[in-house]
């Protein structure tokens, strides 16, 4: 497998927050590659650092309190950690776009959907170096095209609607239209369907899948829902307490999870399509990230933990092909009593 040049690549990224209560060690040596045209999922529970990772890419973390200790985030060869606010303004929307969990937060309630979309389009035009300039009428035509592209019913009419007149699903469509209006290459989706109902979620996921194919997008999808990443993504990385613990193609991750945390996570979800079997859950709680344990951060909750786990952070290693695991005992089966518990 000769790997193509990744479009986005994070290397040994360490980020802390300086807070009143001390130094919160949010991310510790996070690294992954995103290949062009690939859709990569990041999953993990509260406090694992998945959203912080996403926000870091677009330079959306205020500093202070955020402080980068080491690492680099390369977008097509450019280190985003060294990018200025000016560079980011050029990148956001035209190269990298982001959609969020709650679209209402990112739509201005006093302007119509159309006005905001036209504004976004014109801003993207200005940001593109040497790109042709559109006039307002052309921008409006483009905006309505975009609304049609995200399957908003009645795009001409909705163009003049205010955000509060739309349902949650329609707002998310508008936000997707807005973020894609600058023809970005990379889409970062941070829990895009978490606030939506199942039937609406299915429609938005369909839309994202359609756009991935149509626009040849690379996608970084952040979600706590393993079902969502299983459906949309080609490859998944699992995060726990600021570490990447497993990185594998989607079928390998779900059929043969190797990190004990991933295995625990998968054994915790009831499956809607199968009769119930017992759920194991993961005993214990997240480590205190103000004073994280040495070594593997999952060791205290891990059924496979041995003394060596607590002395050094396990290196990520290749199990097979592109299945990476940060666990020294990834080849072993879980002890029987742990499966019962």
């Amino acid at each position: 497998m000769s790997a193509p040049e990744p479009i986005l690549s994070m290397r040994d990224y360490r980020l802390v927050f300086d807070t009143f209560d001390g130094i919160y060690q949010a991310l510790d040596g996070v690294g992954f590659d995103l290949n062009p045209g690939e859709s990569l999922g990041i999953v993990g529970e509260t406090g694992c650092g998945k959203s912080i990772t996403a926000k870091s890419i677009l330079g959306l973390l205020p500093s202070p309190p955020a402080r980068v200790l080491s690492g680099e985030i390369l977008y097509r060869g450019q280190d985003l950690l060294k990018a200025s606010e000016r560079d980011f303004r050029r990148l956001r929307g035209t190269e990298i776009a982001m959609i969020f969990q709650d679209p209402m937060t990112y739509l201005n309630p006093v302007f119509t959907v159309g006005e905001q979309l036209v504004d976004a389009i014109l801003a993207h035009q200005r940001a593109k170096p040497g790109g042709e300039r559109m006039n307002k009428a052309a921008a409006k035509r483009h905006a309505i095209q975009m609304l049609a592209k995200v399957h908003l019913p009645n795009p001409e009419r909705q163009f003049t609607s205010y955000p509060h007149e739309l349902s949650g699903g329609m707002r998310q469509r508008v936000l997707i239209a807005m973020s894609l209006s600058g023809a970005p290459r990379l889409l970062i989706a941070d829990e895009p369907t978490t606030a939506l109902d199942v039937t609406i979620q299915a429609q938005i996921l369909d839309l994202i899948a359609e756009l991935i194919d149509d626009l040849n997008l690379s996608v970084l999808m952040i979600s706590h829902d393993l079902g969502v990443v299983a459906k949309v993504c080609d490859r998944v990385i699992v995060m726990y307490a600021g570490h990447v613990v497993e990185d594998a193609p989607v079928d390998q991750l779900f059929n043969d999870p190797r990190h004990p945390y991933t295995r625990g996570l998968l054994a915790s979800i009831p499956h809607p399509g199968r009769p119930p079997t017992s759920l194991s859950g993961i005993p214990g709680t997240l480590p205190n990230l103000y004073d994280p344990p040495r070594g593997c951060r999952f060791a205290a909750r891990c059924p496979l933990a041995v003394p060596a786990c607590t002395t050094a952070v396990p290196e990520k290693r290749h199990l097979s092909g592109n299945h990476l695991v940060a666990c020294i005992r990834a080849d072993e089966d879980l002890p029987a009593e742990a499966a019962d518990a």
Partner: protein
């Protein structure tokens, strides 16, 4: 145990200077047998939580009746209300906001005992310690405040509080939706064990189909204030009959490899509960809708041979 008969809960609202009515629950009939757990599943706005709140008298009821062990909840007087409070308790979705932030756990859990019994002092503390033990928390939590506990621990506290008066019916309103999956698994396992040990009856309200399938032996699917399908959980999940149930089940992304990226089964948005469609409320999104019938006549519930009830014209003959 619990019988709900043609329950209607309507809320008056003001929309654009005009008075309107939200028909949150619009003619729901249900019954739960002792020891059963009924799952009430539906999307936001389906009215599932309103039913749970109506059972605890947290909402005004517009019409119909709710009977708990034969006693009317809707028309209860003072003495009856006292009895009802002991028989039914509720656990809410967000454990973080369901506990008074200024009260240590001891006082929160003790509240129902203080309100309804004469137990005080050392005995009260012993009872609370026992309750915490049932939900798997040590006595060191007695004097902690909610903000010092994790989400899962807080939800356990809420369950302990609901159990204080030894109710027979527990209304669980999305009890795990605010929790991480590894914690959710622990709470679900615990709820299952608790039901077995204490012979409790559950009304489990959730939007999460997997959770319902896991914990409930009967399932009722709600859409816009009405139950569209109700039956044994395994039947409803393995062979759904109502078009909405089918859509709902297809729409859930599964935590497994090898799914198609596209679902392509669901269309449209949920209609506003203020302006409900005529006829069957689902006909605007239904792939099997029959013009001239579904958009005109509201389907009555039909009992199928396998014991389920479906509200759909497809089964009406």
């Amino acid at each position: 145990m619990l019988e709900i008969e043609d329950l209607k809960v309507h809320f008056p609202i003001r929309e654009k200077w005009q008075k309107a009515t939200v028909k949150a629950v619009n003619g729901v009939s249900l019954s739960i047998a002792t020891g059963d757990s009924l799952g009430l599943v539906g999307e936001s706005g389906s009215g599932k939580s309103t039913i749970g709140r109506a059972i605890l008298r947290l909402n005004k009821v517009t019409g119909g009746d709710i009977r708990l062990k034969g006693m009317s909840v809707v028309n209860a007087g003072r003495t009856e209300e006292e009895m009802l409070r002991r028989q039914a308790q509720i656990v809410f979705q967000d454990p973080h906001s369901a506990l008074n932030p200024r009260m240590p756990i001891l006082r929160s859990v003790a509240e129902p005992l203080v309100l309804h019994t004469k137990v005080r002092g050392v005995e009260l503390r012993r009872r609370v310690t026992d309750l915490l033990e049932i939900v798997g928390l040590q006595s060191q939590f007695l004097y902690r405040y909610p903000h010092e506990l994790s989400g899962g621990q807080k939800q356990r506290v809420c369950i302990a509080r609901a159990l204080a008066l030894q109710p027979e019916l527990l209304v669980l309103d999305e009890p795990t939706s605010a929790l991480d999956v590894s914690v959710q698994a622990q709470i679900l396992e615990f709820l299952k064990k608790l039901q077995r040990e204490q012979n409790l009856t559950y009304l489990f309200i959730s939007h999460n189909l997997a959770v319902i399938r896991y914990i409930c032996n009967r399932t009722a699917v709600m859409y816009l204030g009405q139950i569209v399908e109700e039956g044994a959980t395994e039947q409803v999940f393995s062979a759904p009959r109502h078009p909405y149930t089918k859509v709902l089940l297809e729409a859930v992304p599964l935590p497994e490899a090898g799914q198609s990226r596209r679902t392509d089964v669901v269309i449209g948005d949920v209609p506003s509960p203020v302006n409900m469609p005529t006829g069957c409320s689902f006909h605007t999104r239904c792939a099997e809708a029959m013009a001239g019938r579904c958009d005109k006549v509201a389907p009555p519930p039909v009992a199928l041979a396998d014991g389920r009830r479906v509200r759909c014209h497809l089964f009406a003959d």
